[in-house]
Amino acid sequence: MAKKKQSTRRSKAAVGLVVGTTKGVFLLEASRSRRGWTQRAPALLGSKVFDARADPRRPEHMLATVSGGHLGPTVFRSTNRGRTWTEAKSPPRFGTSKSKKPTKRGGTRGHTVAVNFYLAPGHSDEEGTWYLGTAPQGLFRSEDGGDTWSEVEGWGHHPKWHSWTKGGADASPDGAFLHSIQVDPRDAKHLFVNLSMGGTFESLDAGASWSPLNAGVAMDFFPGEPPEFGHDPHSMVQHPGDPDRLYQQNHCGIYRLDRALGTTWRRIGERMPKSIGDIGFPMVPHPTDPERVWVFPMDGTELWPRTSKQGKPAVYATTNGGKRWQRLDAGFPERDAWWTVLRQAMCADDRARGTGLYLGTTSGEVWASRDEGQSFACIARHLPRVQSVRFVRWS
């Protein structure tokens, strides 16, 4: 098993950002005031990291998904705030099929995990439990802090897995990912997963059975009425301020679903300025107020450049569940900034007032706001392409 020592320095920082990049993990640290961010030496240098985050139940513990390069995908763990990292004893892997090839009825069996993509801590009552989404679209669970992983077979061996995922086809430009895994804070058995080119799916029994949850979501790329699945959620969140309130940044707009009232999503992105549109990747909820979320629109016109719109980066916020949107760009470059923000690369911290907002860019910068997005400052630059930014509080 691979072991990597990064630093012997013990940190006294109160908060941090775990930044996953195409060349490793970078840890940014600050005091409780969230000022004066400092950057630690890179961990897992040279590895393509799609997600890296601390365990909110044991914040000294961290996981990082490692994929790409010459070697196969794996997971690294740290139990000392990133000072040393050890490879998982048993990383995610699919089961085999008799023919050694995927079949229509075999689900994920016979497939190969290409990318370990998305990490989600399990329920707060289930210490050591994590979920991980892969490409092709597998769902894995660990009950020992990420050391060993087992496939959630109710998902991967579901008789409709082949239909829901188009046979695990790599239909989207960057891969057929399973992402935005949500664990209901009220019920550990209530889960959501999201598929690029597949849609949103819900389980009420800890992953044993699943149902599509896509009614009302547009599929502009599909001729005719949208079917039950096949949609393209980019990010989906179960709002921590009201777990019955779901928000989704989709390939075809921004949506909201009040789960207690039904199963049909309502497009709230139509209230965004027409010149900006409602296409993007991140969807970030306020820590307590269910009326509030932040998004980062990108250019989704014609060839889908996937840059900030008109080269002018901006966050958009709503404080009333999507009835109105406010542009927030103070501190960002006013022009000629052609970066964007990827799905896992934007997050909020845990302060109900003066909430911190953090985002990492495709050009290797990390920006922070201590005032809910009213102003931003660059706190790290010259990093590799940022793929994930996750907040952690140590004290």
Partner: protein, 88 residues
């Protein structure tokens, strides 16, 4: 049968920096299994869950490209595990 295995630097984190290793087996599959016993986790970075050699890894038994892990070994052979050149 004893086999010498040469690994590139991409696998040094598993081997403690050693490039030349000695394993036992009658074919390549057994040699990789023994390699994994001695350096846990190394096999899964070379071979996927279907038993296929990963796309950007190449195995050479002496001068011959290995495409089937069932290839029999002969005494005194050397197995090279290489990161295949791909991209710029």
């Amino acid at each position: 049968m004893e086999l010498t295995v040469h690994v590139g630097s991409i696998l040094f984190e598993y081997t403690g920096g050693r490039s030349e290793l000695v394993v036992e087996g009658s074919d390549v599959a057994e040699a990789l299994a023994d390699l994994d016993r001695k350096y846990p986790g190394i096999r899964f970075r070379i071979v996927d869950e279907r038993g296929a050699i990963r796309p950007h890894v190449r195995l050479f038994l002496d001068q011959s490209l290995v495409e089937d892990l069932g290839v029999r070994l002969r005494a005194g052979a050397t197995l090279h595990v290489l990161g295949a050149l791909s991209g710029g």
